[in-house]
Symmetry: C2
Subunit: 576 residues, 2 copies
């Protein structure tokens, strides 16, 4: 259980502050997490690694020369919000773009993705690496759809070293994906962990058994088998990984034996004793093996074994020097850039969002966008109860409330931006951020990203052309699709958004004006949203939303149709 806390709701934040207080030579706490406290070379890509709290030393413990540039720290086992990720990335970015690295979980995909949208809208090049090392969570063919567990360490270590060695964004992204594709982990759990303030663990493993294929967020194993000796556990994990050993392997592997929290060091060494035998029998050389706690899950009892099948390039970066609060290795002479660590003086804090100079044409367009946001807020207020009722069938019933809070937040932010002279593009970025923050949850993140993505089609210098309006809406839908990870038929907002975007583009390309095309597309969306009541949920297809009950329209698709209808009306009234 968690013994030491003040207030469960403040636990993760206090932990970040305590961590930063203990490591001032490495990190500084900023909104949303930590970044390096020392200057980084201008033009160096920033490796921003993160996820929920409760996994220390992952991820904040790995911020420092040779590894991470910053770490957004979410609540316990929860993805950081898009604004947390954005804040940390903004702080870490120094002219070389951003590589975001996180374990492949729906929440992280969504929120890191939303932050990436915003950074891209601001002109920052962002690449995303989803670590997917857990062999128990999907098939070999679908390696990149697996969950990320302890493989976070070697993937981020290798990516960080590549950047330290001078890799640019493309090169660092390539190496990071290559590391991920060479990395396999497999674990077992013996008992669950307890969230701060909770009385009971998230799960128990039945006595005398162990859960094979654990997760790192308190997920129990995928199946329970009889408890084994240390040697049997070592054999199980080793054999599970060797099934996926690549044919052309070099014979050299990075090895990580990771304790989840309550399995102690001596136990890990007893297991490693056997792992070393098996490696040797298999003709494999362990390169700089690591045995200890690297990616924990509070006080969960369990362990995982990770192998990275190395080639020369991966080995070079795996063994390179690194100097972070929780992970230090090698001869720091190789980190010449850091011989003199210069304390950094200035940090970005939210609330100082910039408003680039805008032309009067774009300011006029911004006022029109603001009018649209106000219309959105009215529509949501009108339909709040109905949307809540639809959501309550299969969800927690807060969709209506979320849409109201989100649109209200967007209106307020838009107003402020207008007062500061923002153009259309900047207004949309500010409104998108505020929507996500104010609404919270999945739909807030998706709508926030939609607005941010839409902004990229507009500018602060000229009035938007009709084609730009089409592209803005196309971008918005694409962002929702990319971030949410849902497919048409999963009974989500996508079921209305995709037909909408297709219809809009078809009509516009067929020569209809923007306003008319939009009106047709909104009608398509409305029909599609209604027909989600008949869609069969495709179980397991949607990573974000899971199973939905049948017979009622999806609330997300419904609200999308409502707002697109309002958009069409708003545009129609403007052009009249």
């Amino acid at each position: 259980m968690t013994y030491l806390l003040n207030d469960a709701s403040a636990f993760a934040q206090e932990a970040v502050l305590g961590f930063a207080a203990a490591n001032p030579q490495y990190v500084t706490a900023v909104h949303g997490g930590v970044v390096r406290s020392t200057e980084t070379p201008a033009g160096q890509p920033a490796l921003v690694i993160g996820g929920g709290s409760g996994h220390y030393p992952a991820f904040a413990g790995w911020v420092g020369p040779g590894m991470g540039h910053g770490a957004p720290c979410g609540n316990i086992f929860s993805s950081p919000s898009a604004s947390q990720v954005y804040s940390v990335a903004r702080n870490a970015e120094n002219g070389g773009g951003v590589i975001m690295g996180f374990g492949n979980y729906a929440g992280d995909v969504l929120h890191f993705g939303a932050a990436a949208e915003k950074l891209r809208a601001e002109g920052v090049d962002v690449r995303i690496i989803r670590v997917s090392d857990d062999v128990a969570s999907n098939t070999r063919e679908n390696h990149r759809d697996r969950r990320g567990i302890a493989g976070d360490l070697p993937v981020f270590k290798i990516a960080g070293a590549a950047i330290e060695a001078g890799a640019g964004l493309d090169e660092a992204e390539r190496i990071a994906w290559k590391a991920n594709d060479a990395t396999r982990s497999f674990g077992v759990a013996f008992d669950g962990c307890t969230l701060p303030g909770a009385e009971e663990p998230l799960f128990h493993v039945p006595a005398a058994t162990m859960g094979v294929g654990l997760g790192i967020h308190g997920e129990p194993g995928i199946r329970d088998i009889p408890m084994g000796t240390a040697q049997e556990v070592a054999d199980l994990l080793f054999e599970g990984l060797m099934e996926e050993a690549p044919a052309g392997r070099s014979g050299r592997v990075a090895v990580l034996l990771n304790g989840l929290g309550r399995v102690k060091y001596e136990e890990l060494f007893v297991v490693y004793h056997r792992v070393a035998e098996r490696l040797s029998e298999a003709g494999l050389t362990a390169v700089a093996p690591e045995v200890g706690e690297f990616v924990t899950s509070l006080d969960m009892a369990g362990l995982s074994l990770t192998l990275v099948f190395l080639d020369e390039e991966l080995e070079q970066h795996w063994t390179a020097a690194v100097d972070t609060p929780a992970y230090r290795r090698g001869d720091l002479r190789s980190l010449d850039a850091h011989a003199e660590r210069v304390p950094r003086k200035e940090f970005y804090t939210p609330g100082e969002e910039q408003v680039p100079e805008a032309s009067s044409e774009s300011q006029t367009a911004a006022a029109s966008v603001q009018g649209l946001l106000e219309r959105f807020a009215e529509v949501c207020a009108t339909h709040e109860t109905e949307l809540g009722r639809l959501d309550a069938v299969a969800g927690d019933g807060d969709h209506g409330q979320g849409m109201v809070l989100g649109t209200r937040g967007a209106v307020e932010a838009g107003l402020k931006a207008l007062e500061r002279g923002a153009g259309a593009r900047t207004l949309l970025v500010h409104a998108g951020t505020a929507w996500a923050e104010s609404a919270g949850g999945t739909s807030g993140a998706l709508w926030g990203s939609a607005l941010t993505a839409a902004s990229r089609a507009l500018s602060d210098t000229s009035a938007p052309e009709e084609a730009e309006g089409v592209r803005a809406l196309h971008n918005a839908v694409e962002a929702v699709q990319r971030l949410g990870g849902a497919q048409p038929g999963d009974k989500t907002m996508i079921d209305a958004a995709v037909p909408f975007a297709r219809a809009l583009q078809d009509r516009f390309q067929a020569g209809e004006g923007f306003s008319a095309a939009l009106e047709s597309a909104a009608a398509v969306a409305t029909e599609a949203a209604a027909s989600t009541s008949e869609l069969k949920a495709r179980l397991g297809r949607s990573r974000v939303l899971g199973e939905k009950s049948l017979g009622t329209p999806d609330p997300g698709a419904t609200s999308f149709a409502l707002l697109m209808t309002a958009l069409a009306e708003h545009l129609g009234s403007l052009s009249r």
Copy 2:
């Protein structure tokens, strides 16, 4: 609990082997523990740090440049045996003498002390540092009689850095004691740990309370108080330490917040958040603070706070570079001696004990000593049952058996040494080692050390003088007193040994011959042993043996008297 093991009795040994397998660039497993796998500079004092297993990263995790030279690894929570310590120290020693460092516990004092006796008998200068940082275990005035807990880390870190910086044995010993005297720790426990193979924890802390003043061997706290918030726990620990803050402090402190095993990192950081506030309010600057798991106690739930009140010298060594499997810090450029780490090729393994060339006079004396050992073995065999019966009153009844096994082992080793041409001194050293190994337990360690200490008065080159015989016995009794830590009246072997040694010296100085003086002294010992039946055990005085029941003679004192009587008879028969 311990989830991963093969065979509980092999657990600690398998852990050491696994640890060494995972860290070949740092350590090599030798009999009894690990030593550095790379060459050390000739003439550099060797820092040999250890204790029981179950405390990782203490102690093996700290072997490497800038810190330890070797670590004897005992069984879980048990001191390494004298032969383990000896083997590791022999391996680590490279012409500069040895500093032995361990937490101040009776078993460690005994076994490290016994190994030190043997090394000294071989001409190696050995210094002993007993870490005693736990403020809950004794008064401020008796700081050096306190237990050692997490203070092991800073004391050994500082001593290792001083050695790395070129300190000789005297200087390193001085700095190590200075570090110990500047170090204070205070802890609380929330739940006990479970030994490998056991079903139940060693203790439970009552619900909603915490045990203040925990030990690191599963000892519960000294008193239970209501469970506090993280902030209250931080305040309790901080205030407990600040009561002992030295008046002339520099305002700079090394800080260590140590988790015992099951309290996780995020919790420690929440506590540290408050500790940092308190340090700041108190005008103290935390120098290179450490928050994590450093001296664990298997899966015990608890934590401790350590402060080292630094001066310039201590700070220099605290912040110096170090590179070990579990503790790395600073810029390794300062470790120039280790720029090229040269793998070490040769290691000492027991069984190869040297037999220095001996004169025929000393060989004759050795044969006489061998005869005495055989007489000892006969006496013990004769009295085995009686000694067992005396021991069963207040002990585990194995004293008779231990004496039989010990003397038998000594006889066998003596015989082998004789065959290899050993002189008297070497024969006694070999016999002492074998006695301790064969007998095990406290009395085995004490008798083994007694023989080893006695040997220092003899030589391999000349026949012993009578005065040397007196000195040999004096040395033996002194070693027992020093290692056992008991005082006269504690109802131990000392109650017979001290009057014996005094009588021997008095009679010899009064002009009686050695043989006659010995006969008188043996009579004094016999009388003293008998009178231990009337001694009141002084509760709490004896650190080693604790309370003894009244009314029966102490078995240790009795066997001492028996053997000294046999010695006197043996010597008498030789001189006749």
